[in-house]
Amino acid sequence: MKPMIQTKTWMILFAALLALLIAAALLVSHRGTGKIANVYQDGVCIRSIDLSAVTEAYSFTVTDGKGHENLIEVAPGQIRVAEANCPDHVCVHTGWISDGLRPIVCLPARLSIQLEDTAQSETEGLDAVIG
């Protein structure tokens, strides 16, 4: 009998179990909310927003230091570029997005907004949209 080792083993097991429980709780809550919008500048994420936690609409401006400005509006469950000073306004015309299939892209500002594909059923198990 080696009680010390046994205690240590139990402690590790307990810690692992605790970690698993925390992990499970976090993952469940993460999946439950599950609508994360990521804002990328030149492919690099600059902001993550949990759209399902948004209760009141708000907006913020993203600038790139080269004169491009995009006013991003966040509302419960959805996100859009409300105003931009790019010449083509493709980002504004895309309108609100609420699923992970189609990103909002502003080519001149090298800005993209994309929802993490969480609930596959929402988008009928699609891998991409072409158009």
């Binding site: 976090l26 492919g43 690099v44 993209s112 993490e116 009928e124 891998d127 949209v129 072409i130």
Partner: protein
Amino acid sequence: MKRFFLLVTVLCFLLAGCGFDAPSTVSGTSTEIVEEPSDTASVPESAQHQGELPASQPFDVRLFAMDTYMELRAYGDGAEDALQAVSSMLTELDQLLSVTDEGSEIYALNHGEGQPAAVSEQTYELIEDALALSRNLADALDMTIYPVSRAWGFTTGSYQIPSDSQLQALLPFVDDTQVVLNERDGTVRIPPSAELDLAAVAKGYAGDRAAEMMKQAGVRSALLNLGSSTIRTVGVKPDGSQWRIAIQDPQDSSGLAGVVTMGEGAMDTSGGYERFFTGADGETYWHILDPKTGYPAKHGLISVTVLSETSFLGDGLSTALFVMGLEEAVRYWRANGGFEFILIADDGSLYLSEGAAERFSPIGNYENAKMTVIKP
């Protein structure tokens, strides 16, 4: 406790999304590789305990290149490194082929005042292939349409309707049969006032090269979205099922027209709705120009999707079939084959080649659309 930390580390990766904290950049490129968050069910416990991500874990790269936004996703061993290599390749290719970048090979050719200039072997071969395809497609595709496109503002986004005399003055230089390739010294000659632009096939070519690199790196499953109208796949999905790609509803930017299932290959779409403007006259003017007239190609089609083995072919063909219109497109397909198509006409009806019909199911507004299957 080691296990505990490993587990926490794995969970941090899974939960981070792309991070509420400071962004991390991959040195040397403007891309970021992000471990996608995943359902608990798809993460085997053993993998968690080893502190490793399971083989089906996707890796994503997003980048701006070739005047478009690309999203590359790959699965399994070697995926992360392969994506890194591919994004470097795409950035380099962009620098070689850009029409506007003063350091590009194409820029040098276009500003060579009619003198032959040497280009890299890779660019030479691409020009050769592009011109061969263009020749095969006769008047429906021309690699020297760029000055006309610029007159409309489609190259900058500052749209305008050029005068008819302006277009008539540019049209004589839209003729890629005048580009001279010299195999002996590897030079290319662009006539003065003409400008070569490989945009019609560049993304497709990039897709094929990316797919090749992925396969050489041992990646067996990847979905390469080279700017929303060119998709190139490697293998099938990690679970062995086919990819499911939806075609956008050309009349409703938030809607879908149908779903195509595919294994390894290419899918390319061209539509007037991708880039257009409404003129002061109330008319819609889109970016797909008819090389014969210099005006937007309006020949009854609003969306053309091509399924083919290579995205080089699909990229060029989707534009060309759009310019041709229904009857000529079908005639071309019957004479040449080698691809499948899904055409949406401006009255909302669908025309599919037999092979495409087997893989297509209409959805949304197109669920009850008139569908005509065309036999070879």
